[in-house]
């Protein structure tokens, strides 16, 4: 299966969804996304960190210093209340959008029409 590059604007919501499972550091988020998409998504690492910073600025996520299993200091990202609200809203929007696109694309052409 080809690896899909992430559609513009959807990375943020994917990251938020990831963080809905709990606080994670940057690399954890990457691996989680890769595993969840069964490596079907091609996410550039730099873009992920840019998204994190963008959302930190907007107040969707919040960073705290923490310690990893291997006793390394790492920046842990956590969903804020605002981030949860944003995620909910974006999820609904995305679902409706995807449904609509799917409906349109799946529609069969009427008989006799040239495609």
């Amino acid at each position: 299966m080809d690896r899909l590059s992430v559609l513009k604007g959807t990375l943020d919501v994917l990251v938020l969804k990831t963080l809905a499972w709990g606080a994670m550091h940057g690399f954890e988020i990457t691996t989680w996304l890769e595993e969840s998409s069964k490596s079907g998504l091609d996410i550039e690492d730099a873009a992920l960190y840019q998204a994190l910073r963008r959302m930190e600025e907007r107040g969707y996520v919040e960073a705290q210093m923490g310690v990893t299993e291997n006793n390394r200091k790492a920046r842990y990202y956590k969903l804020t209340t605002r981030g949860q609200e944003h995620l909910r809203a974006e999820t609904t929007r995305w679902m409706r959008y995807a449904d609509m696109v799917t409906t349109i694309l799946a529609r069969r052409a009427p008989a006799g029409t040239l495609t």
Partner: protein, 893 residues
Amino acid sequence: MNEPSPNSHSRVRPGIRRLLGLDVPNKNSLASELENELQMHLELRAEQLRKVGMSEEAAMHQARARYGPIDQATHEIRNYAFKREHHMRRQMTIDSFSQDIRFAFRTLARSKAWTAVAVITLALGIGANTAVFSVVNDLILEPLKYPDADRIVFISRHSKNIETVPTLEQVHAWRDAKSFERIEGFISGRQTLQLNDADPSTAHVARVSSNFARFAGAKVLTGRFLLPDDELASAPPVALVSEHVWRTKLGASTDILGKPLKIDGKQFAIVGVLMDGVRIPAYLQDAVDIWTTLPAEGFLGGPAIGRLAKGVSVEQGTLELQNILHSLDQVKNEVNGSVFTIELHSPGSKGTSRDSVFLLAGAVCLLLLIACANVAHLLLARGAQRERELAIRAALGAGRARIVRQLVTESLILSGAGCVAGLFFGQIALRAIVAVRPSDMEVLSQVQVNGRVLLVTVAISIATGLCFGLIAAFSGRTGRNPEVLRSSVGSTPNRSRNRFRSLLVVTENALSVVLLIGAIMLIRTVINLHQFNPGFDANGVYVQRVTLPESRYKSEGARELYAEQLLQGARAIGGVESATLATSAPGQTGAQIGHWVTEGETPDPNKQENMEFTVVNTVRPDYFSVMRMPLRFGRTFGASADVDHERIVSVSLAMKLWGDSNVVGKRFRMQSQVTSTGAVVWNTVVGVTPNSASASLMDRGMTPMVYFPMGRVPEDRVSLFVRMKSGTAPVAELRRLFLSIDASISPPDVVSCTELLLRTVASQRFLMALLTLFAVLAVVLSAIGLYGVITYMVSQSTREIGVRLALGAARRDVVRLVMQRGVTLSFVGLGFGLIAAIWGARLLQHMLFGVTTSDPGSYAIGATLLLLIAIGACAAPTLRAIRIDPMLAMRSE
């Protein structure tokens, strides 16, 4: 996935961290955090790749490739960190300020009584200041509000202490003076105004030159100002109405131009509306209602006003005007004029009202000082109570600057509230001042709280806020003392702070005594004035004054008829015992200035020291019997043909001219009293009256007086004196009488003679009322201050008192311990206050009557009052002290 264990940075909320002065993450830490994150990502990615079999080097390479351009990423990180930090710092500043403010509000709200006392104290001080300085500003600093006000001078003529106004003729001659850009003169007075067909009313009419509007910066709202052509004798009479009259009496109608109005029965055409707020330096400083052209000659209604040319000194201007006046006098061969000197002074720098207003300003400054001292007390007392709180905060790491800022914020909020409340109180106070204004300060009715005063007030309140905030912050130890934390009682008494508080109490007491003694002197003055025998029986006498319009009462016949009708009509009113006519009424007397010559004395034209200010009244022969003022010697005016040269003098004038009181038959004259042929005209004294306070109660009747006979024909000014059998004045009947004789003259007010006499001392009463108010406020404030200090002292030494009581001290000793301190402080304050009062009382010298500035009674009363109040203020804390339960006090540790 494991839970992060947040470090200290995130455990404590940023607001609290800031409050306690802990570290807040800085820019470097954010940038390095993000760089670490990048590094960690690359390492973890490489490790992941190694696990699937890549070589160490290839894995690292691959990790970097998957990340994207590293240099660019680092750059982005740094930018981001910088931006965030900048934003955070700004947010932090805003946060900490709003936090300071919220915290201050919470703290202030926690002790509501304390806050209320502080705010009210400040409000009283600031409010009284706002009100009084609005008056000072209006009356003294910018009384006229003309353009180039710094070059405006008043021009008056002086001889000895007598000030007179120049004549129009002199103003015309002065207009050539090079030292002045322009000199203006005007005539003003109360005249009868008739608009439309409405009832006549009295209006303040100002007669000015066509140049006046430009000179005074006055704006015409509708129509035009007076033109040079209007000033020609042949021109039709025109007038402008004031904005006030236009709005209230003409309904702000736009088509009033050309409409007629009548002044004293003479018709004028309205040519315009002049904006309000234009003043003329008249002695009766009413707002002007009607503006019209100057007559050809006459005395001005006040000093002339000039605008000095740029760079010309007052001395140069005076000299030039003096020289012009001299040459004018030589041409006219007037002896009288030459004895006058010209005096130029800035507007508002003269007059009795100025003295009173300055006195008030001084008094109100003392009041503000006391209020400030009181607030300082309050903040200090509170500072002591809060020492523990501050110590805890300091121990938790709050910096001194942070605590100082918090205290200053609190004080600023306090003074801000005081300022707002003070402005509110100031408005009320200003209205009160306006309500009790004396009649010679009519101009006060227009005083508003003005912008400049507002600014000064705000500045004062901010300065007091800062000052007290800093006093509170730096007095004592601002919580840098670990001792405080250990002691559960709070703080131990602080010697330097106590000394400062004592100093404040002493100052407050001293200032209060000064105000108190001043107020007592004025109260005694007013009591003396009320009890003073004016030399005649004023009870039951009512006075009405009218001015007969020149246009219709030019002929002697018309005036005689008017006078006769008035007298007959008045005598016919029920309850009227007797009635008489005179030219002047008490307080509104005419005067003659000149040199008296007695028969047998060689007149000396160069003798100028004998310039006399003599009060003159022209009276009917029965004036003395109606006023119940029996003559000491001689008789009243007779019916002989030579009655015109008969005079009745007061004892004071007789003593002055002849050194004797029985001077019936002696002859005298004004030096200038010469007939057209050059023959001297002598006047014969036919009677001598006792001294009477006809001009003003303040002069105690000592001003020399001369009475002229009023024949059948009165002058244009007539005062009707009516003595009632009992009860009050028949106001309605008198009003009808005046209207029935001449409906075009507005009926004058009916005023009791007693009231007229009291009006002559209205300034004293005004000053007394306000100074008494200030003194009461001052005493109350300083009593609160003393109470605060003693209460604090008692609360600080509860344990000490408890121990003493437990060891067998009598309650009496406790009373002595507490009282001693309060009374000692008051005594010290009293001592300084008395010295200051002796010095300050000199300012009151001209306002006092029957009381000297060194009157021991006033000082004794003031001192006793203050001590009693001090003892009263100490009573409550003393009671609290003797009720201390020794067991409780000692266990309270």
